[in-house]
């Protein structure tokens, strides 16, 4: 039997693969003619994907009756936060070069930017309060309530992707669909537990 700790380490190692792929592509100068755009899109796409994986842990744990999966919520939540941080660094430091005026205009004028920034602020709060010690200090109930914020974050993040795409909305629609299934699962299991 694999221990929860081994499973966690395995998942962290697996989560490094996209970053590794990016680094190898970068070393081969294979990041397209517009590397800044490519890396921004790549890190954004993987942030969303890891967010979806994070949200799948609870359904997977319940459906397959695997309590050992429980700690992976935090593991993948922090992986999501890491990729989202890279994504933010690409935007603020590399793309905008910390041009405060341009960043301010971007945030106030463009819906996809403020949705994205909103999602990242939410993720940051969740990441900062993810430790067990903090969880105990806040109290189990308020911690659970606070961390339901991940649903808001996921809606913000998917809408951010949806409205930034120019015309071909296939991929954002797929993310929407998977998110709906994951949120729908929670809604239905809640209703079932109430009627039982």
């Amino acid at each position: 039997m694999l221990s929860a700790r081994k499973i966690r380490l395995f998942c962290v190692a697996l989560s490094c693969f996209p970053l590794l792929y990016l680094i190898i592509k970068g070393a081969n100068q294979d990041l397209t003619a517009n590397p800044i755009e490519y890396v921004s899109q790549f890190t954004g796409w993987w942030s969303l994907t890891f967010l979806i994986i994070t949200l799948s842990i609870t359904p997977a744990r319940e459906i397959f009756n695997q309590p050992r999966l429980f700690p992976l919520r935090r593991t993948f939540g922090l992986v999501t936060f890491s990729y989202a941080s890279l994504h933010m660094v690409m935007w603020a430091f590399v793309d905008q070069l910390l041009d405060v005026e341009a960043i301010f205009q971007d945030v106030t004028e463009r819906p996809f930017i403020y949705l994205g920034v909103g999602a990242y602020i939410g993720l940051t709060i969740l990441a900062l309060t993810s430790r067990w010690s903090i969880r105990r200090r806040i109290g189990e109930r308020s911690w659970e309530r606070l961390h339901r914020g991940i649903y808001v974050v996921s809606l913000l993040a998917v809408s951010h992707f949806f409205i930034l795409v120019k015309r071909d909305t296939t991929e954002p629609l797929l993310f929407c669909l998977v998110l709906l299934v994951l949120l729908g699962y929670r809604g239905i299991s809640k209703i079932l537990s109430m009627t039982r």
Binding site: A33, L97, A102, D106, E109, R110, R167, D168
Partner: protein, 316 residues
């Protein structure tokens, strides 16, 4: 790769200094060698290779910028050409499916002498000029590309527009067999673009048959495309099969898809931002720092008169 100046009207100032000439030759052969290596695995020898390997004779043009050229590799692998897919790398991967042999361009509508041209007829219509133009995409990136072509006005004069010809409509090829991206309704196919007749007659407006000294590669709009350098890139229709002179303003594909984002004029204008991108700055492909975007992409000297009394925030 011979540069042969066959035009008797060449004056001494037209002649490129030897160092520039040699640099350009070195640049072209180097970039061509690398690009053909990259194209080969995908290309079937009779198609992509066919087009972009045929070199063309041309003369220099006073409209050219002396800014550093974008590498041919970048200009032929990073493209928006939704007929071949919506990713930037898609056109270079899929454009070999398009057949350009036997291509016909018909020019019709409000004209006295409608006419259909094959490629040889187009190539012989006027001496080709090399126009090194800035290309500004609406997505806030830009390139500098040496196009080969002649003014669109030369072609339009041949068909003699009537007094009712107020606009020019450009229709691109519509054939999902050759253009797999057309199996998806991302845009309303065929791709349609348009210009006002005075914009079409402007000396900058280039009917384009080549780039980097050779025929156009398929992913860049072979065999014949438009280039209007003071407008965002999508205004310059690619792989054109029909040019129609019309009385009413055409509805372009992007305008139809999102009228609040893509206007009919779509002149490069740093003061009017797109809902998704600020247009104040742009990133030149190959450079790290952004540069300021110029009004009319720096071509105001030749085109600002066209819009003298117009509110460009309204007619964006």
């Amino acid at each position: 790769m011979a540069l042969r100046f066959s035009d008797p009207t060449v004056v001494p100032s037209d002649i490129t200094p030897e160092t520039v000439f040699n640099n350009r030759r070195r640049f072209m052969s180097a970039s061509f060698a690398s690009s053909s290596l990259i194209l080969l695995p995908n290309a079937r020898a009779d198609q992509v290779a066919d087009n972009s390997k045929v070199s063309l004779d041309f003369k220099e043009s006073e409209f050219s910028t002396d800014e550093e050229l974008t590498s041919k590799h970048d200009a032929t692998t990073y493209n928006n050409f939704y007929e071949f897919g919506t990713d930037k790398e898609d056109p270079a991967k899929h454009a070999h499916l398009m057949k350009t042999q036997g291509w016909q361009l018909s020019v019709e509508g409000e004209v006295h002498k409608p006419k259909t041209f094959d490629l040889d007829a187009l190539l012989q219509l006027a001496p080709l000029e090399e126009r090194v133009y800035r290309l500004r995409c609406v997505e806030a990136w830009s390139m500098v590309i040496p196009w080969l072509g002649f003014p669109l006005s030369t072609l339009l004069k041949v068909v003699e527009p009537t007094g009712n010809a107020k606009f020019v409509e450009f229709l691109s090829l519509h054939d999902p067999e050759q253009m797999p991206g057309q199996n998806y309704n991302v845009l309303d196919w065929p791709y349609i673009e348009g210009l006002r007749i005075d914009e079409a007659m402007n000396p900058l407006t280039l009917l384009t048959l080549g780039m980097y000294g050779h025929r156009l590669p398929n992913q860049n709009g072979a065999p014949v495309r438009l280039v209007a350098p003071w407008k965002y890139g999508f205004k310059s229709a690619k792989s054109i099969v029909k040019i129609k002179l019309v009385e009413k303003q055409p509805v372009s594909s992007w305008n139809k898809a999102s009228p609040n984002e893509y206007g009919f004029y779509s002149n490069v204008n740093p003061a009017v931002s797109h809902p998704r991108w600020s247009q104040r700055k742009e990133r030149r492909i190959g450079e790290f720092f952004k540069r300021d975007t110029m009004m009319f992409n720096g071509y105001g000297e030749w085109v600002s008169e066209l819009y003298r009394d117009m509110d460009l925030t309204k007619y964006f």
